[in-house]
Symmetry: C2
Subunit: 613 residues, 2 copies
C-alpha cells in the first residue's frame, strides 16, 4: 500500500495555529505583505498545497523508495516521476520562489512552512531537492554580489537550477573546522579555483535540473585554520554562459552516492571539485581580511539554521502521516475485547487502553511540535517585517533558542512516535505493504543530518544557555514561568498547571546545577548531560505551548458548544495538553535528579572496557 | 560492509555469567548432565559456537538481506547459501537436537542459549528457521503420542524437517481465541482434517528442508469457543510415508509472503490448509473433553514462552553486534576536539562525552539483558534437573515472572540501543554499507511478534502480578529488596545501593497503587499503565542483577589486581551497574508519579479527536 493511497493529512491544525492561536495581524499588515496576503488567503493557500501534496507528490513517493536514486558512470538517475513533481512544485509557487524577498507572491514563513509540511509528508525523498534549493537561493540573495545574484538568482528561485549545501568531507562530519577543500584566487575578480571532495551532499548530483549550484565551504589559501578561516563559494556544476544559460562543464563530478536505509529517492552524493584542475566558484561576500577570518561559517549557519528547522519540521510531518495512518487503522482493525468488558463483543483496537496511550503519545507530541515550529517561523516573519527593534531582537533571540530544540527534540521524539505508529499496526506495521515501514526508515536520518543531535545539544547548552551572559535564556525561561504562574488554577486545568509549575522549578534547578558544573570547570559534565538537557528543554516548552493552546481550546468549546462539528478538535487539543503535561513533563524531574547525582561512570570507564566485544 | 567482515563478538561475558556469576554446579552435577558436560566444557563449546557463527552464518547474512526470501508460484526461494548454513548448524549440534531430552549431547539451556545468541547475531534472518524448529521439536517430544513422536521427532531433532508455529490468522493477531481454522475428526485415530488459513508464519514456506512440520492451532468441530476450545495439531506439508520419508503432498500451500522492512531472509508466510479438502494433521495430546476444553493453548504457550525468551535474547544479540561495531568505529573515527581541551588535537569520537553516554547506555542494557536471560535459562535447567521440589517450584515461578520482561523490555530497549549505535556512527550509520542499518531494520520485529509487547505487559500486570494470589510476585520483589537491603553501604557502591533502595520502595508503591486500581474496578487504568509498569519492572530487575555482578566484579578486581588483562572487563561491569542504576533506575520514580496521578486523558479523548488527520 503506498502513500499515494494513504496520504491522510488535514490542514485543520494549521488553520488553528495560524488563524486562531497566533496573531498574524502584524505580519500580514506589514509593508511586505499588506498588498499580497490577508488572513482570508490562508485557507485557500493551505488547501491548494495539500492538494498538490496529495495529487502530485504522494503518487511518486513509492517510486523513490522502490527505484532509488541510482548512480551510474558519474551520473545519478532519479525516478522519472520526480522531475515532473519537482517542477510542478516550483512552478506553482510552493518552492524556492518563496525565498525571494522581492517577489510579491512569496508567502510569509509561517504559511510557507505549513505548505512545505504537506509536501515533506507526501514525499520525503523528493522534498530535499526543492528544500535545499530554497535554502541555497536565500543565501545567494542575502550574501551574493550583484554579479552573482544576476547570474544565479532567477534560475534558483524558479527552481530551474537546484541548490545544495556542501559542508561535510570524508574526514570530517561534525568537525567542520578541519575541512580540506581549498580555494585559490584566479585572475577574475571574486572567482576562485576550487579543489576538494565533499560527501553526504543531499541532491549533490541528480538528473532533475539542468544545473546544480553547490554552496561549498572551502578555505582560501592562507586563511586562518579552523572554522574561522572558512569561506563560502557558489560552485555551479556547469558554468553559466553569457546569456545566463548552461555553459561548459565546471569540473564538478560525482564519485558515488550512498545506499541508504531510507530517503532512497534523495541522492546523497560524494562530490569532487577540480579533479581536472579547472573547477571555479564565486566567493560569497568578502575574502578573509588580514586576520584570515572568512565569512563562510556565519553565512552557512544562516542556511544551516533554516535547514535545522526544516529537519525538525520534516520529522513532525512524517510522524503526522504515520500517526494519521495508524489512527485510521486502529479504528478499523477489530481485535480482542475490552479489558473492562471481556464478555462483550470484539472491538476495534482503538478501544484498547494501550493503543490509546500510543496514539495520544503521538498526537500530543505532534501537536506540540507543529505549534512550536510554526510559532518559530512566525517569529522569523516578525523579525523580518517588524519595524520595532525590540520585537525584532526578542524574536531573533527566541529563534536562536528554539532552533536546536526543533532540530533535535522533534527528530528524536518524532522517530519514537513513528515507531509507536508501527506498534499500533502490529505485524502489518513491519510489512512494506503498509506505509509506516518506509516512514520509519526515512525518518531516522533527521537525528543525524544538519548537525547531529548532540551538536544541537551542545549548541543549546554551550551557546544558547549563555548568549548575552545568559540573559536571553533566562528571559525565555521567565516567560514560561510567568505564563504558568498566571494560569494557576485555570478551570479544568488546575492539575496540569500545578505540574508545570513544578517542572519550571525543576528545570531552573537543572539550569543552575549544570551551569554551575560548567563554571567550576566540570565542562565534561555539561557534555555528558547535554542531550538529556535538550530533551528536558523540549518537554518544558512543549508543555507550555500545549497548555496555551488548551486554554484557547477551552474558550472555543464554550463558544461553540458541544454539538458543533469542531468540538472534538478542541477536545483533542485539551487532551494533548493533559496527556503531555501529566505523562511526559514529569520526566524533567528525573533529569534533574540525574544531573544532580552527577554520575561520571561513562567518562571514567576505561576505553578497553568498551571495546571487549 | 557486511556482517561477514563485521562479526565482532566475544564469549567473554558468557564465560563470566556461566562460570563466575552463576553456579552451574547443581545442573552439571545432575543425573541428566553429570556424564556429558562439566564446567571445563563451557569454554570450548562457546568458542566453537562463536566460530560457527563467524565462519558459517555471518558470511551469508548479506545474502538474506539483499536477495530476500522470494515468493514465486506457491514456492519460496531462500538464498542458496542459507541451506548449507542451516544444515551446518543442525549437524554440528547447535540446532534443534539440543531439545532432545534423551540426547546425551544436548546442552544445558543456559549454555545452549549462549551459543544461540552468537548465531542469532551473525544472521538474524536465518536464525528463525532453526530456532522455530527447535521449539516445535520440543513441543512434539513433550506432548506427542508415541506414534507422533516416532513419525516426526528424529527428523525434527536432526533438522531434516523444519518446524513452525502457526497461530495468527488474517482476522486475528493478538486475539487468538477468535481463530477460524477448523479441525474435523477422520476415521484414523488422532488424525483430523484441517481447514483454514494462517498468516505471519515464520518459515511457513521455504526451500531449505524437504518437509515443514506446522504446529497449528485449530478448533475441533463442537469444541468450546474462545481460547479454551482450541487444540494443537501437527500438520506436515508432506505426509510421512511408511518408511518415515517424505510422502504425498498434504494440501498445505503458501499463498504469499510478507515484504518486510527487515529479517528479509526469513520467510513470513500465509499458509493455507485444505484448499483441496485433504489436509490432515495429528492432534497433540487429547481431544477436548465434554466441556469442550482443548489442550492447544496450554501446549502452544509452552513453545510460545520459550520463543518469547528467544525473542528478547535475539534483540540482545542484535543490540550487542550493533554496539560492538559502534564502539570499534568510535575508537577509530577521528572527529573534533575534547570539550575540556578545545586547543588540543583531534580525538577519536569515543573520547566525546555524548558518545560515551550512548555507548554506556548500550553496554549497560546489554550486560543486564544477557545476565537476566542466561540466568532465566539457568532456572529452566534447574527446574528440569533438580530433585528438590521447592527449587523446581521457585525456579518455575521466577521464569514466569521474567518471561514477559525478557520479551518486551529487552526488545523495546534493544531497539533503542541499536538506534543509539546508529547515532554513534553519524551519517555512515544510515548507510547500508555499514552494519547498523540492517540491524536496526531487522530488530524492529521483536517488539511485535510472539505476542506484542502490550500483550506481554498485560501478562505481567494481569497474570504474573496476581499468580498465587500475588504471593509469587511479592516473593520475587522481596528477594530484590532483601538483596538491596543486605548490601547497603557496600564499599564503592554506596550511592548505587541507596538509589536501588529508593527504587524498590517506588516500585512497591507502583504495585500497590495499580493493584488498588484493579481491585477497585478501575481495570482500564491497569491497561493504561501496563507497558510503563513492565518497563519499570525491567529497570528494577536489571538494576539488581547489574549490582550483583558489580559486587562480584569488585571482588575479582581485588583478587587479580589492576595489571591483570581481565581487569578492564571487571571495571566495565562496575561501570555498567553504576551507569544503569544512577541514570536509568531513577525513571521508576517518574512511573510512580504518573500512575499515582492517574491521568485518563488517553481513555477519555473522543475517538473523533484521534481521527482528524
Amino acid at each position: 500500500m503506498s502513500l499515494a493511497t494513504n496520504y491522510i493529512y488535514s490542514s485543520r491544525d494549521h488553520k488553528f495555529i495560524l488563524k486562531e492561536w497566533l496573531d498574524l495581524g502584524p505580519v500580514l499588515g506589514s509593508d511586505r505583505y499588506k498588498n499580497s496576503y490577508g488572513i482570508d488567503d490562508i485557507d485557500p493557500v493551505l488547501d491548494n498545497a495539500l492538494k498538490v501534496a496529495r495529487e502530485v507528490l504522494a503518487p511518486c513517493n513509492d517510486d523513490g523508495d522502490a527505484l532509488h536514486a541510482r548512480y551510474e558512470n558519474g551520473r545519478v538517475k532519479t525516478p522519472d516521476s520526480y522531475k515532473k513533481a519537482y517542477f510542478f512544485v516550483q512552478e506553482n509557487g510552493l518552492g524556492s520562489s518563496n525565498k525571494d524577498h522581492h517577489d510579491e507572491s512569496a508567502l510569509p514563513c509561517s504559511i510557507f512552512a505549513s505548505c512545505s509540511e504537506y509536501l515533506a509528508a507526501a514525499n520525503p525523498g523528493l522534498g530535499p531537492y526543492f528544500m535545499a534549493t530554497t535554502g541555497a537561493a536565500g543565501l545567494v540573495q542575502k550574501y551574493g554580489s550583484e554579479k552573482v545574484k544576476q547570474v544565479f538568482l532567477a534560475k534558483m528561485f524558479s527552481g530551474q537550477w537546484a541548490g545544495t549545501m556542501d559542508l561535510t568531507e570524508p574526514g570530517g562530519g561534525s568537525d567542520v573546522g578541519d575541512i580540506l577543500t581549498r580555494a585559490y584566487p584566479t585572475d577574475a575578480p571574486g572567482v576562485y579555483r576550487i579543489v576538494g571532495t565533499k560527501c553526504f551532499i543531499t541532491g549533490g548530483e541528480q538528473d532533475i535540473t539542468e544545473n546544480i549550484v553547490h554552496l561549498t565551504l572551502a578555505r582560501i589559501e592562507g586563511a586562518a585554520p579552523g572554522t574561522r578561516g572558512i569561506s563560502l563559494f557558489v560552485v555551479p556544476k556547469y558554468w553559466p554562459d553569457e546569456k545566463g544559460g548552461v555553459g561548459s562543464f565546471n569540473d564538478v563530478s560525482c564519485a558515488g552516492i550512498e545506499h541508504k536505509m531510507g530517503l532512497r529517492g534523495s541522492s546523497t552524493a560524494v562530490v569532487s571539485y577540480g579533479e581536472e584542475g579547472h573547477c571555479r566558484g564565486y566567493l560569497l561576500g568578502d575574502p578573509p581580511g588580514e586576520d584570515g577570518t572568512g565569512q563562510g561559517m556565519a553565512q552557512m549557519f544562516d542556511m544551516m539554521n533554516e535547514e535545522r528547522m526544516v529537519t525538525g519540521h520534516a520529522a513532525t510531518a512524517l510522524a503526522t502521516i504515520a500517526y494519521n495512518n495508524a489512527a485510521q487503522y486502529a479504528s478499523q482493525r477489530i481485535q480482542g475485547r475490552k479489558l473492562t468488558n471481556p464478555k462483550g463483543g470484539r472491538v476495534p483496537i482503538i478501544k484498547h487502553e494501550d493503543v490509546r496511550r500510543m496514539l495520544m503519545f503521538q498526537k500530543a507530541h505532534i501537536d506540540a511540535f507543529r505549534a512550536l515550529i510554526i510559532f518559530t517561523y512566525h517569529l522569523l516573519d516578525l523579525a523580518e517585517t517588524s519595524t520595532d527593534p525590540e520585537v525584532v531582537k526578542r524574536a531573533r533571540a527566541t529563534i536562536e533558542v528554539h532552533t536546536p530544540i526543533i532540530k533535535a527534540y522533534c527528530s528524536d521524539l518524532g522517530f519514537l512516535c513513528i515507531s509507536e505508529a508501527m506498534q499500533v499496526y502490529g505485524g502489518y506495521g513491519y510489512s512494506e505493504e503498509y506505509p509506516v515501514a518506509q516512514i520509519l526508515r526515512d525518518s531516522r536520518i533527521y537525528a543525524i543530518w544538519e548537525g547531529t543531535n548532540f551538536i544541537q545539544a551542545l549548541d543549546l547548552v554551550g551557546r544558547k544557555w549563555t548568549m548575552g551572559k545568559g540573559q536571553v535564556f533566562t528571559a525565555w525561561l521567565k516567560e514560561i514561568a510567568v505564563f504558568v504562574g498566571k494560569n494557576q488554577g485555570a478551570p479544568g486545568l488546575e492539575r496540569e498547571f500545578a505540574v508545570m509549575q513544578e517542572a519550571c522549578q525543576h528545570y531552573q534547578d537543572i539550569y543552575r546545577t549544570v551551569g554551575g558544573y560548567a563554571m567550576t570547570g566540570k565542562l565534561e559534565l555539561a557534555g555528558l548531560y547535554a542531550t538529556r538537557i535538550l530533551h528536558a528543554t523540549g518537554k518544558l516548552i512543549c508543555g507550555k505551548i500545549l497548555l496555551d493552546q488548551a486554554l484557547l481550546a477551552k474558550r472555543k468549546m464554550e463558544e461553540i458548544g458541544s454539538e458543533h462539528h469542531d468540538y472534538p478538535f478542541y477536545q483533542g487539543k485539551v487532551a494533548s495538553a493533559r496527556f503531555y503535561v501529566r505523562n511526559i513533563v514529569p520526566e524533567i524531574e528525573t533529569t534533574l535528579k540525574v544531573v544532580k547525582d552527577a554520575d561520571t561512570s561513562a567518562i571514567e570507564v576505561p576505553e578497553e572496557a568498551l571495546l571487549l566485544g
